[in-house]
């Protein structure tokens, strides 16, 4: 019995933390944070899925993950404002994201295949910056309104928080994708090939699998995930600004991925929800506001997320659900 618990230590810790968190929130009267955290965290989780995917297959921290989504949003806005129906505009946006993923893989990742991972990190950051710059070039840096896909705002009300259709779709998509991708990597030949290529590229080539094609596939898939994240999550707020995905979503997504374990896809979702809850709690809880007991200057959520990141990295570097390498 003890052996079973030790084996599943990560899961047990995760459940323990979640339970403690839920109880603490109810006690503090902040149970709304739970609900808000779930759907904001789902957005982080969706971006985190793309991050974990790239990390599992190439060991890279992909800083362009946010802008894969940003490009999708931009294209969605462009097409929609030209009169194209919303559904086709969404598809167009996703295609644009995949194209960016393809370009990034061909132009930036391939030449730097053997380079240190830090170099690739900087290179993907460069791609993100370039994408933002191009958006600002064409649009200037103003915010633009963007319509929701599903206008119903009051589908469900949980713990006095309104959950719109859009949010339900967000949560649902992330859940489904996390499970599907998890199964993909453990049960399908393609998924196993990707893992194998990341660990032993030479051996994989010897068996007749093209590592290059796998790399292209992975990056395009990750770009699709990023695009989905942006297209579902951002319209909820009603408008978008160039760079919003990177400034608002990338860091929490990275924290979520680290929290869940950089190699665990379900972990990305769990991590995302946890980060969402922490953020929501930090933003709304009265003890952090001016005059409260723990008055934190400025934006409390930034500091709290930073502390969470540090604590996880120092105490449990492999994250809640990851395997220690």
């Amino acid at each position: 019995m003890l052996a079973l618990v030790r084996q599943r230590a990560g899961l047990a810790t995760g459940i323990g933390i979640v339970a403690a968190l839920v109880i603490a929130l109810f006690v503090a009267g902040e149970e709304r944070a739970l609900v808000i955290g779930v759907y904001t965290g789902s957005a982080y989780g969706l971006v985190a899925l793309g991050l974990v995917l790239i990390y599992k297959s190439s060991g890279v921290f992909n800083f362009a993950a946010g802008e894969f989504g940003g490009v999708a949003l931009c294209t969605l806005y462009l097409l929609h404002s030209e009169g194209i129906p919303y559904g086709f505009a969404v598809v167009g946006g996703l295609v644009a994201a995949m194209v960016l993923g393809l370009l990034t893989e061909q132009i930036v990742v391939r030449p730097l295949f053997e380079a240190p991972r830090v170099t690739l990190l900087v290179a993907t950051a460069g791609v993100a910056l370039l994408a933002i710059a191009i958006q600002i070039w064409f649009f200037d840096s103003q915010g633009r309104p963007i319509a929701k896909a599903f206008p119903t705002t009051d589908r469900v009300t949980v713990l006095s928080v309104q959950i719109s259709d859009q949010r339900l779709w967000l949560i649902g998509t992330v859940l489904v994708l996390a499970v599907v991708l998890g199964l993909f990597f453990t049960r399908t030949n393609l998924g196993l090939a990707i893992i194998g290529a990341s660990q032993e590229p030479t051996a994989t080539e010897l068996v007749g699998i093209s590592v290059r094609r796998l790399s292209t596939f992975t990056w395009v898939l990750a770009a699709l995930l990023g695009g989905l994240a942006a297209v579902i999550a951002i319209p909820d707020g009603g408008s978008f600004t160039p760079g919003v995905m990177t400034s608002g979503y990338l860091i929490p997504a990275f924290t979520a991925a680290v929290l869940g374990g950089m190699t665990s896809l379900p972990g990305a979702f769990v991590g995302g929800v946890l980060v969402g809850i922490v953020q929501s709690f930090a933003t709304n809880a009265s003890i952090f506001q001016d005059g409260g007991a723990l008055d934190i200057p400025g934006t409390p959520s930034t500091l709290l997320v930073f502390i969470v990141l540090l604590v996880v990295l120092v105490i449990r570097p492999q994250g809640l659900l990851g395997r220690s390498s």
Binding site: G59, F61, I107, V108, P111, L112, E114, A115, P116, R117, V118, T119, L121, V122, A123, A125, G126, V127, L129, L130, I132, A133, I134, I136, W137, F138, F139, S247, I251, F254, T255, V258, I296, P297, G298, T299, P300, T302, L303, V305, F306, L309, L310, L313, V314, P317, S325
Partner: protein, 367 residues
């Protein structure tokens, strides 16, 4: 016969060290003089506002050198360097304006706090490997912007803090010379540091930490040492920047600026001091350059909308483009490209094929 085997290598066996001819020395001197003229004399004829830009260029060069210690010597990346520089800036402004201390105390305090926060951050992150460390620095940069810079008593809140120029250096050209002097000091310290045992330990560390530790190099101490040096330089640059702009505000020191710092260090060229100075100066002066190139403005306007570029947007686009080109095609940055010239200026033969020491690319262990 045995004589041949036991005789130690005589001086005539080694190839003679290259010494430039008299004409060679003269030519090098002329070029050095031209550079000195360009850097020291020409700016004096420009309006005061431009001198502010030049002083900023010198400060950015210091930041590039600071970031190079981490990125080029140790191989760790800091994506929150704007926080280090910004806290130095606020510290100096605080000491001078709120505490009423002299400028030099402010600079000292800024350098000290730069080193101190680097020490704390480095100490905490010693157990954290490469890529994760980048995340920590990034997150720290955000915390600095969102939390630390919002502490009203320290930073003056939304209005920012005043930072008057020091006595005796009020005029722009004197302050420019002051910044140049600090840049020279930083360059010298950096050069000396890399010639010491600790400096060489750092380079060994970057190549392969495990092998380095088998040679008895204390990996942790060497990394911490590098951090502190990097932080001290950054704090110093922050102080100089604060007094250059005459006020400090929180919005300047954001994530975007951290990325600009990384870009200018990489594009300038890691481990190449001339390259770093040029990289820093170039990125500080980009809007200046764009405006000053005759006809560039008209060219930009002639491009039909929505493709038209403002100088601001052009700067936003050029930076990452240069970064990508550097990383993919010219990893040594500007420094590597001008290496034949810089080596020549240092008294060596002009060798157009000189690409610097061959970098041993060791694919590091995944973080």
């Amino acid at each position: 016969m045995t004589e041949l085997l036991t005789r130690p290598a005589a001086a005539q066996d080694r190839p003679a060290r290259f010494r430039p001819s008299a004409a060679g020395w003269l030519l090098r001197l002329v070029v050095w003089a031209a550079i000195a003229y360009l850097v020291l004399i020409v700016p004096l004829g420009r309006p005061a506002l431009e001198l502010q830009d030049f002083a900023r260029a010198a400060c950015y060069a210091i930041v590039a050198i600071s970031l190079n210690v981490l990125l080029g010597y140790v191989g760790q990346i800091s994506l929150g360097h704007a926080a280090f520089v910004g806290i130095g800036a606020f510290m100096s402004a605080y000491m001078v304006t709120v505490q009423g201390q002299a400028f030099w105390i402010g600079v000292l305090a800024a350098a000290a706090i730069g080193g101190a926060q680097a020490l704390v951050l480095g100490g905490v992150s010693l157990r954290i490997r490469g890529l994760y460390f980048a995340l920590v620095t990034l997150s720290y940069g955000l915390v600095a912007g969102d939390n630390i810079f919002q502490i009203e008593s320290f930073t003056g809140g939304g209005a920012g803090q005043q930072a008057p120029k020091p006595q005796g250096f009020e005029s722009e050209w004197r302050y420019y010379y002051l910044c140049l002097a600090f840049l020279a000091i930083v360059l010298y310290v950096d050069w000396r540091m890399m010639r010491t045992k600790s400096g060489r330990a750092l380079l060994a560390l970057r190549e392969n930490p495990r092998v380095a530790s088998t040679f008895g190099i204390n990996v942790r101490m060497a990394t911490l040492f590098a951090f502190v040096v990097s932080g001290v330089f950054a704090g110093l640059a922050g102080a100089l920047l604060a007094h250059n702009d005459l006020s400090v505000s929180a919005t300047t020191w954001n994530f975007n600026l951290s990325l600009v710092f990384v870009i200018m260090t990489v594009v300038g060229g890691l481990r190449s001091r001339p390259g770093l100075v040029i990289g820093g100066a170039f990125f500080a002066l980009t809007p200046y350059i764009i405006e000053k190139i005759p006809g560039f403005d008209d060219l930009l306007v002639k491009i039909p909308a929505p493709f038209d570029l403002t100088p601001e947007t052009a700067r936003l686009v050029i930076g990452p483009l240069l970064l990508l080109i550097t990383l993919i095609q010219f990893p040594g940055g500007i420094g590597q490209q001008i290496r034949p010239i810089t080596r020549w200026l240092a008294g060596h033969r002009f060798d157009i094929h000189d690409k610097g020491p061959k970098e041993v690319q060791i694919t590091d262990v995944r973080a």
